[in-house]
Symmetry: C2
Amino acid sequence: MDVLVPYDAREPKTRLGPFLTPTERRSVARSMLADVLDALSRVGVEPTVLATEDIAADVPVRVDERPLTPAVNAAIAERDGPVAVVMADLALATPAALDRLLTAEGDVVLAPGLGGGTNALLARHPDFRVDYHGVSYQDHREAARAVGAAVTTIDSFRLAVDVDDPPDLAEVLVHGDGETAAHLRSLGVEIAPEGGRVAVSRSAE
Amino acid sequence: MDVLVPYDAREPKTRLGPFLTPTERRSVARSMLADVLDALSRVGVEPTVLATEDIAADVPVRVDERPLTPAVNAAIAERDGPVAVVMADLALATPAALDRLLTAEGDVVLAPGLGGGTNALLARHPDFRVDYHGVSYQDHREAARAVGAAVTTIDSFRLAVDVDDPPDLAEVLVHGDGETAAHLRSLGVEIAPEGGRVAVSRSAE
């Protein structure tokens, strides 16, 4: 199956800015991509990284400088048959969760992300196109309905956590066992239990 | 199977304070409890609500004024056989997700919550006890190991979202179709798309 992994190689993860320097944000983004590619390889998939600029990778890289939505739709339009799109910042993605996505029934399979996003999807309907702007989970359901495609939703915490904001780093540190968690620890990022949800803190260097 | 639903009837959901009045927080907490009880009833379970004070409910209510951890452990200790504990603020819990929890193999089954919490669990080992303070997901894994209990984790977004902070209300509005979502809408709470994750806003009354 064709699997696309969109990756912003230029200025990734700006919302982690208060916590990580631009160089660190790029290296953490690269760790997350490595974890996603590793999880995909363990379900027997060789994805294509859809990157904003050329990067070194062990899998094919397609460069498209455009924003996420047109870049993904152009890649989808070129393909016959099912296409999956898995975000590059799903540092907690497991082979089991990805397998549920890739083997689910339905013309369009959606894995919601926190905050109304769509972190992973599988499109079997030739007319389905993505739109990541706004509350994309709702928009993708509507777009599927508009082309007569039956929608299935994957109920996965592992796929719901994309790493955009500092609290997401806590999720990676609590639940992750891949390169991203190790990399964050090497940067001095650690969990900081508070009254409610766990947060992160960073030791002075 | 014995299923406990701990419920704070006195001053629930204080972290929603900037967004809802104390009276509204109690009514929203009650809506969430109703949604959880409804989802449990649809998998054929009659739970016991473990409440801090007596409340009217269609299911048995056990009153225990103590904090969450000792109240749950006292109830667990009295029971023979498996006991599940499902938090009362899982407004997105579906019968399918709860069924996965209640039928999973393992001596201790954990459904992690956002921020290191444990939103639902199933204990089949007689010596397992809960501790909801701190990063309880990690602590419960450790507690299970300490008594020689094999741990299974349920990967569910629906069970991972507990409603503690205002952004969680956005999850309910995007994904919920129960009493809580309707109640929030009746209070004028609506989703407010932003640059990143969707937030909530509230219309002036």
